[in-house]
């Protein structure tokens, strides 16, 4: 009976890459329940319910139209302003919402985590999935406005093209980036909360570093230390995703090129792997430091 099979071995230190995906799969029911819970509880006891998901981007777009379109006069690649801003806002909202929720995983759920064990990764994954619904509704709103534009003004410069078919991949990349970055932040904030304070600020700034309220083409002729600014912008892994989305649905600007899109994808994979590894390392003892 010297080396019999043990079902679980609890030891202080794990090997670096010991993410138990099998275990994660076993808890898929829990994941789907968390998704359901997140969705249900978000609009329980509200009259408008999911309509609220639409009100927020609508107001944001109106604000952008006034500030960036009206006052600052930033062009939108010839695309109607509401469509241009709405496309960017929908995508960005999904990203930032996933990111913020994921980055608070440990701090928000310390109560549950302190009482019972389940793979902690279930939580952020459920967040990313339940945010998809919210995104779906906002995207539906976008499509609605799009169709209205087509009927009202068939000459408007919005051209749907084949790149729009990349849409599911783009969403997956957004989710991956948010999950990867969020898990890293959440692992780092368990002990030192400094980052949490900094983080909300970073997300805000990040939006302006991404072509949401202005087109990437606007930076075409700019240079910084001899480097074209639009190339620097594309180093931000979110930029190629947003640009491809806008190009596919609206025909706005030029396609950023497969090279940048692949760069973004590889960036996402690396970040996600790193995030999961760090998260897995921290989840064991975070209860002592949170």
């Amino acid at each position: 009976m010297a080396e019999e099979k043990w079902d679980s071995i609890i030891e202080p230190k794990d090997k670096l890459l010991s993410v138990d995906f099998k275990e994660l799969w076993r808890y898929r029911d829990l994941c789907s329940l968390f998704v359901k819970r997140n969705i249900i509880t978000q609009y329980k006891q509200t009259i408008l319910g999911p309509v609220w998901f639409v009100v927020q981007p609508a107001l944001t777009v109106i604000m952008y139209m006034i500030v960036f379109g009206g006052i600052a006069g930033i062009p939108t690649d010839g695309v109607p302003r509401p469509l241009f801003y709405l496309a960017g806002t929908c995508m960005w909202n999904y990203f930032s919402e996933c990111l913020t929720k994921t980055s608070n995983t440990f701090v928000d759920n310390a109560g549950i985590f302190g009482k019972v064990y389940f793979p902690r990764l279930v939580m952020p994954i459920a967040n990313v999935i339940s945010n998809l619904l919210r995104f779906g509704i906002q995207f539906g709103f976008f499509v609605l406005i799009y169709v209205i534009y087509f009927f009202v003004d068939p000459t408007c410069h919005a051209h749907l093209n084949w790149y729009a078919l990349l849409f599911p991949v783009l969403i997956a990349m957004m989710a991956g980036l948010a999950l990867g970055f969020g898990t890293i932040i959440s692992s780092m904030t368990t002990k030192y909360r400094d980052l949490q304070v900094l983080f909300s600020f970073i997300v805000q700034l990040w939006m302006y570093a991404t072509p949401i309220v202005y087109p990437l083409s606007q930076t075409k002729s700019m240079f910084w230390l001899g480097i074209p600014v639009h190339k620097l912008m594309c180093l931000n892994p979110v930029t190629p995703i947003i640009e491809t989305f806008k190009y596919g649905f609206l025909g706005a600007g030029d396609f950023v090129g497969w090279r940048w899109l692949i760069y973004s994808f590889v960036f996402m994979i690396v970040l996600l792997t790193l995030g999961i590894v760090i998260f897995n390392k921290v989840q064991k003892s975070f209860m002592d430091t949170v």
Binding site: E11, R37, K115, V116, Y192, D288
Partner: protein, 427 residues
Amino acid sequence: MSTAIEFNHVGKQYRLGLVSTRTLSHDLHRWWQMNILKKEDPYLRIGETNDRTKAGTSEYVWALKDIDFKVEQGDVIGIIGRNGAGKSTLLKLLSKVTGPTVGSIRARGRIGALLEVGTGFHPEMTGRENIYMNGAIMGMSKAEISKKLDEIIDFSGCERYIDTPVKRYSSGMTVRLGFAVAAHLDPEILVVDEVLAVGDAEFQKKAIGKMQDVSKGEGRTVLFVSHNMASIQNLCKTGILLETGQIKKTGLVGDVVNAYISNNLQEIGDVSHLTEFRRIGVTTKEIEFLELTRNIPFKSDSNKDIVFTAKVKRNVITVKTFQFTTLIDNVALGGTRVGMAYSQEITWPEGKNIAEFEIRIPEHHLARGKYILDVWVGQGDITSSYKYFDSVYDSLTFEIDTINGTPISEWHSYWGEGIWASKVQSL
């Protein structure tokens, strides 16, 4: 029979105090020593055993140290010890809520931990939805829960409210629902932490009955932590006594419980000299306890007043008034506090710096049993802004017995804390 759980020299170290820049410097130092110089963790060697009543010199403390035991399959083990002895930490390690610092734990079979009932209940969701949620958190699959749903609802006795949001439930109903789910969790190894001390009497009976079925009938391994010696002795065959994070005794549950009780009653003197008692969290800068004398015999008649004398020294002349608080812990319930008595505001006698006061608790209504006394002295409103001058724990022991054999009252830990009036007279 095979081994179900095996603890191999398990230790858990905690760092005391606040997370601060000191933590960062320790972290950096640790990282430097371990990853660059390839030495062992510099902070693992230090650290003291976890005695909360004594002030330590190290920032690191071992909540559990060198825990080494095996549990055979089908055993029901009771884990006992005073508050802070490491019982909960042990269960937390086993249920994977937190990891050990050193050593390893190996287990065979699915581990189900019941550290709290109703974990993950969301107030906005209905009872039914919460059953699924709670079950899944504890590791059940949807299909498993669906199969047992009717049984769970029936056991909880909340059928009528099952499609109502849990926020409309009474606290008792929430607990029942939580326990009902937990009771139908079918792991090979069950880890239970005092959840039985909830609910009304009828439900408790049901819960204890269920626990007995689980432990007796189905050959399951159970680890049970409780302060209630009666239910421990009732449910378990073997016991483990923990003291300051270390195993003090293992063996048959009766022996272990006896060891525990006598262990807690070592000090039977009538006078307790408090100057050498180490304090925690108080400075004794203004007022300090010097001596505590029991003015009643060790074994006391239940209807007689509890009386003792506190010899107190005032270190700062500007302190004119103060209050005493007397706390009584039941030994058999593992040091569970059964009552607190606050005195009225007392004026310090003029022209003296050392004074004696008699503290009297009339009509104490304590049940038969052995008790330990804690005393505080402080100033202000006890419920909100009490300022502690000094506090001494585990200072005197006494026993309440009756002459005619019938105790005048019974007091369980789950009834909460009793509050009596105490009278203080200056001697």
